[in-house]
Amino acid sequence: MSNVKYTQDHEWVRIDGDVGTIGITEYAQEQLGDVVFVELPEVGKAVTKGGEAAVVESVKAASEVFAPIDGEVVEVNDALAGEPGLVNSDPTGQGWFFKVRVKDASQLDALMDEAAYKSFVEGLH
């Protein structure tokens, strides 16, 4: 069973215990084009579902990354500062953005699973 959930804004969150790792999807990175800068939240910051948590800037545009769930930021991916291209090359792996301690696991139920997200993206074209 997959423990990855998706938002309509093209973020993914992978749950491991009470920690959720958050990044943007393959579709999102492809739409953005080459990522040149990522602004991450500070560790300890409280993020709320749907609130702006990070900013990703590509050669085309700057976009907000929204927190898929409430939580407190426990770790950020410092590697993105020197190598923002990881978001393009490995968006769901080394290109993760930040990790939060999940406040309310029931919020995950409202997000899409992989199959639902896949058909959501297909519906966009």
């Binding site: 040149v36 085309k60 545009a61 923002p84 291209g85």
Partner: protein, 526 residues
């Protein structure tokens, strides 16, 4: 075999490479005719060379004490002709409105009439100092006052702040007046509503003033979604910032209803006037119920972009906001003389302060007033009408092969998205690069963000039908080429520029901001 000869026995066409039997593409220097490989001016440093040969200074006692130059300060030494050639050559590398059609949507690259330049160079305007006694600059003050009069007349607004130095600076000025008005009635508010299609400077301005930005979605017609907008209104909303016509090139047809709803909750209506050039002489924004609007003089009244220094973005204000306008301001004295109010006192006691050290960008004021007076009311009206006509002509000539984002006619710019390139392997960026090879400056790309792979064309009023047809024919041919499966051609473009496709990603990820000797040139596509 050579081609036809003329009566004197000379070939009527140049001898081609194959006829000459050898490759002529490689020159000894790498130059191609007048396309000369031009080093940076620092790389041309020739110590000892000098533009002006001044006599040796007489012996004077230095008053600098121990302070004296220890060596060269790193500026290049060149003779005058070397400098002239350098900058003349560089100027030919640029696509500009004086060399080609420049349909950069939202930026309004309109022709700057040369009469404006002549007036701006009159010594009575050009050689003024901002600290001259007011008695000696009555003419300049009158010019500012006259321009202010016409800006108020054309917008139907009672007041104008002349000093802001650009569009975004004007936004800041207008929003500061709104914040001051709210604070003055002890009603500070938190939220500013901004449509999704807004210029990026709108949310940036609101955020810079400490407001929370709340974005309003567009409806299927590319206009503000009226219901979604009303749902977001509330007593904590300070203002809405709306561009009209909007960045999709469409008139916000619900603007009066929007203004009424905004005022009903005690909020203010900021209008981004970047696209005022589409409606001058047709619509007075004051009649629509706006409270503040900046005017980019360079877009609507034809001053050069940036003005070779600070630009000019005057802000018209409603009765409610006028008391909070910045100083300085030109006022009529009791003796008929004009004077400048420099401080927030008297009638200006509620002014929020200063936007600039001095009195605004005089050079731009001269050009804008020249444009207004030389066109007259009928001419201004015709310019905006022609701008809209030209954009609609392009839309009509391209809509069967490209994909317009919204139905119906447009205002001064035509918006397409990249659906027509679907499955061709050609992106909006690739398509734009191929346009450069054809001698046209590309349209605005990937903005507004509300459509996919946006292409925003603004031909402006001054392009002739012949130029518009040449442009449309070229676009149609490029579309056909893209659809014929020749994606590789587009991905390799441009081919005929001094540099091929530049590595924009590399430049953003690893910016090299200072010149260093022997820096290698980097290109992506070659």
């Amino acid at each position: 075999m050579s081609g036809a000869m003329n009566r004197e026995g000379r070939p009527t066409r140049p001898v081609e490479a194959s006829e000459a039997g050898r490759a002529v593409t490689a020159t000894v220097t790498g130059n191609r005719g007048l396309t000369v490989e031009e080093p940076l001016i620092f790389e041309q440093d020739n110590p000892g060379a000098i533009g002006v040969d001044l006599p040796e200074p007489p012996h004077v006692r230095s008053r600098l004490g121990a302070v004296r130059p220890r060596g060269r300060i790193g500026l290049p030494s060149l003779s005058e002709p070397q400098v002239v050639r350098h900058y003349t050559r560089l100027s030919t590398r640029n696509m500009g409105i004086d060399t080609t059609m420049y349909p950069l949507g939202s930026c309004t690259m309109k022709h700057n009439p040369r009469l404006n330049e002549k007036m701006a160079r009159l010594p009575g305007f050009a050689d003024l100092h901002p600290m001259q006694p007011m008695d000696t600059v009555q003419g300049a003050l009158e010019l500012i006052d006259q321009l202010a009069h016409w800006l108020k007349a054309l917008t139907g607004m009672p007041a104008v702040a002349m000093t802001p130095a650009a569009g975004a600076h004007g936004e800041l000025c207008g929003m500061m007046a709104i914040r001051s008005a709210l604070e003055d009635r002890n009603d500070p508010r938190r939220r500013v509503l901004v449509p999704e299609s807004a210029h990026g400077t709108n949310p940036a301005t609101a955020a810079a003033l400490g407001y929370t930005v709340d974005s309003i979605p567009a409806d299927a017609r590319g206009r503000v979604d009226l219901e979604a907008f009303k749902a977001k209104l509330g007593p904590d909303v300070a203002a809405i910032m709306l561009t009209n016509p909007n960045t999709c090139g469409l008139f916000e047809s619900d603007i009066v209803a929007i203004a009424e709803a905004v005022h009903e909750v005690g909020a203010f209506f900021y209008c981004d006037g970047a696209n005022f050039n589409a409606i001058v002489g047709r619509v007075r924004p004051g009649d629509l119920g706006i409270d503040a609007m900046h005017i980019n003089l360079h877009k609507t009244f034809s001053t050069p972009h940036g003005g070779g220094g600070p630009g000019a973005g005057p802000v018209v204000l409603s009765e409610a906001l006028a008391p909070f306008a910045p100083v300085p301001a030109v006022v009529h004295g009791p003796d008929g003389r004009l004077r400048l109010v420099e401080h927030a006192e008297g009638d200006f006691a509620k002014s929020f302060g200063r936007m600039k050290g001095f009195h605004g960008q005089m050079g731009m004021f001269v050009r804008a007033l020249t444009y207004i007076l030389s066109h007259g009311a009928d001419g201004l009206r015709q310019a905006s009408s022609d701008a809209v006509l030209n954009a609609n002509y392009l839309l009509a000539r391209l809509k069967d092969v490209m994909t317009p984002s919204f139905d119906g006619p447009c205002m001064h710019e035509a918006l397409f998205d990249d659906r027509f390139l679907k499955d061709t392997g050609v992106s909006t960026l690739d398509f734009a690069k191929a346009m450069i090879d054809e001698g046209f400056h590309p349209m605005t790309m990937y903005f507004p963000l509300v459509v996919h792979g946006a292409m925003l064309f603004e031909p402006t009023e001054s392009e002739s039908k012949e130029t518009l047809d040449a442009f449309a024919d070229t676009m149609r041919a490029l579309v056909e080429r893209a659809k014929s499966g020749d994606a590789g051609y587009f991905q390799g473009a441009p081919y005929h520029t001094p540099r091929r496709r530049l590595d924009e990603t590399g430049a953003a990820r690893n910016p090299v901001l200072r010149w260093q000797p022997d820096m290698p040139a980097r290109e992506a596509a070659e």
